[in-house]
Amino acid sequence: MKRIAKSWQITAFVAVLLLVITACSSPGSDDATTTVAPGTTAPEEPGSTEAPTDTEGPTDTTVASGEPIHIGLIAPLTGPFSVVSEDLIAGWEMYWEDRGSTIVAGREIIWHAADDANDPATGITQANGLVSQQNVSMIVGPVTTAVGSAVAEEMNRQGIPVFTPVLSDDNVTQRSPLEGVVRIAGWTASQVTHVAGAWAADQGYETAATICFDLQFGYEHCGGFANTFTDGGGDVTLQLWHPIGVEDFATFVSQLSDANPDVVFVGNSGPDAVRFVQAWADFGLKDQIPLIATETTLDQTSLRGLSAEAADGLISVGHWAEGWDAPAAAAFTQAYLEREGQMPSYFAPAMYIAADWIAQAIEALDGDVSDTQALVDQIRAITLENTPFGTQSLDDRDHTNQFVHIRQVEVRDDGLLWNVPIETYEDVSQFWTYDPEEYLAQPAYSREYQGLDWP
């Protein structure tokens, strides 16, 4: 018994000692205040950061006179969306390479990529890591809405702005705006599909059937189309919804065929998009019923996996068209092709423009990004001309008005498929031609509400 008592004493002593040490100081080196001034906490020496993966900018000849500015890039580097991240990072890096230097207003720009694995909790943890360990002053990304909302809210609490050139959920800048989120070079689902519906009605189509993901993403893409198509006098006779991961589209395609509409609109992405387009061709419907696809269905991430027979000639709508002959777009596409060996999907130019936007804002602020509000205001004040997306400026809800193209897939001489615009709409807002207040008074697009009877 005596021996055990002795070890109890030792145990108790150790425990008390540790507790006394901790009780005499306060925890943590930073706190959850909303006026954290990034850049004023002890930043690392330029060039000596433990940069994750190989995301440091190229070395250049200009000497940096101030401390570096750290930018966090959050994207799904692993998981089903990882192919998107490759384009995303490539587009971002291309900007800095083209610029020739990562030094802006005397401060070196250092970016750190973090993997959110398409999971909100991981996104939050990584964002916190970027802020506390890498001292980032701003976050660019993420890709999906669930992760985006979670990260944005957390970052807002710490006074870090979040720029989302890719996240396309309607309501982030409409009915459920996120504080501190600015959608530079961004787009929304219905922003582009409103155009598709209007164009389809203009073509004289009278009936349409739609098929979209059975998720918010799909409701918004199909909703945009259905809304403007019915405005133009058309009638949506059938709306199909499919879950993610459909292996065989036979039943869906046959239902569409039976409905025999004048035109079919499809809104999905990823492997499902590829499988649908393939099935559409395999079942012979490509030559029977006109198809209009949303941007992500026939984006380069899908086209790379499709055959010329299945995709050639298909119409889609999008704010990016890699075959656009505007000088900035054509130059970007060519440069990307040389660098990466494939055509750019919209993620690449979006990040390229975002980088330009941010660089110009930092330049205008003379390198002082310590005031978050000033940075965001400066971002809002910028208009970019001659970007791969065309002229870019923000509306008063922190979203970008875009050029929207009706595109057609063509086969190039080198055998690659690309989207070439056949008609272009300029300065398209997220509200189409509707009055924003009236539009927002309507419910968000959902399975039940597709704007068929409105306005």
Binding site: S7, T11, A32, P52, D115, T125, N128, A146
Partner: protein
């Protein structure tokens, strides 16, 4: 006077606890956040482990966690209820979900039990995606509040640590109790337990209910951590990850799930800063553990400890480390 080996595990535990308490003073926000996440998952892993004592491997526990997280979120956003009521509602719904899971799977065992729980977990996932008006669909529900003392990151850490320690104590009592022995008996031989007068179905449901309380607590803390709930909480990937934490750490031990949770969470969040190949690191870890540490890391620790100490393996003491082999000998 030699330092009694028997009491070393207790000293070790106290030292670990002291270190855990001191963590926010020694590292930064990021590491503490990762540790908080790890301990929340440790709680989920422990809840799965409880059923593991009975030889039942559940692949749907993330569904229970999600039900309680969503119940808390909906209560928080739709009603004026205070934080305590929100937590109780969350816990209540988690318990209810666990009992339903138990009722629907109690006649199965082995692989069929795995499949039944997997299916039930996915049913929860499907409901979270589909009932958009209640759950917000795949966008989830955001804007949740934490208790004010848990507002700063280190406050939440201490809350989670406190809850985890309390749950570990509770689990230690449970596994040492007659009920705990009945659970192990269920794993060893269900027919014999029945002949001894126990009702296997009742034991399973009761175990599920207890397990549901711990999973529910994990769900509530997870909702506090993210201030947000989304369907990915209920998905198979979360359930699967939690089961892997238990296996990696050591089934049928109390320390195992905690060790497994800490390792996997740290690899996911800290190793991922250095390389995009972190899933490969995890995979290699699993392979190595299956090949060389069948009883998980806790089991490995016990074997090493047994070899190192010349007095042979120490019996069940305050540490509560009991491998299945030990139990059979007792």
């Amino acid at each position: 006077m030699t330092f009694p080996r028997r009491a070393l595990p207790l000293t070790g535990l106290t030292a670990i606890l002291a270190a855990a308490i001191a963590l926010p003073y020694m590292t930064d926000r990021f590491i503490v956040s990762v540790m908080t996440l790890a301990l929340i998952f440790a709680l989920l892993a422990l809840s799965i482990n409880l059923l593991g004592y009975a030889g039942l491997a559940s692949l749907g526990h993330a569904g229970i966690m999600a039900v309680s997280a969503y119940a808390l979120a909906v209560t928080a956003l739709e009603t004026d209820a205070g934080l305590i009521v929100q937590a109780l509602v969350g816990l209540g719904f988690g318990l209810l979900a666990a009992v339903i899971f138990g009722l629907l799977s109690m006649r199965t065992s082995g692989v069929y039990f795995l499949m039944a729980t997997l299916a039930l977990g996915m049913v929860v996932w499907g409901l979270t995606i589909r009932l958009t008006s209640v759950t917000g669909g795949e966008n989830g529900l955001r804007g949740l509040e934490r208790p004010s003392f848990a507002e700063p990151y280190w406050g939440l850490y201490y809350l989670v640590l406190g809850v985890l320690v309390a749950c570990l104590a509770a689990l230690w009592v449970i596994t040492k109790s007659p009920f705990g022995l009945a659970l192990k008996g269920l794993r060893d031989n269900e027919a014999r337990i029945q002949m001894l007068g126990y009702n296997p179905a009742f034991i399973k449901i009761y175990a599920f209910a207890l397990s549901g309380i711990f999973a529910g607590l994990a769900g509530i803390l997870y909702a506090y951590y993210n201030r947000f709930v989304s369907p990915s909480t209920a998905g198979f990937l979360t359930s699967g990850k939690a089961v892997l934490m238990v296996i990696l750490g050591g089934i049928g031990t109390l320390a195992g799930p905690v060790i497994g949770a800490v390792i996997i969470t740290f690899v996911e969040n800290v190793v991922s800063l250095s390389t995009a190949r972190w899933p490969t690191v995890l995979g290699l870890l699993y392979i190595v553990s299956v090949l060389f540490a069948r009883d998980g890391i806790a089991g490995l620790g016990r074997t090493v400890w047994a070899r190192v100490s010349s007095t042979g393996p120490s019996r069940g003491n305050g540490a509560g480390l009991n491998t299945p082999a030990e139990v059979r000998r007792e």
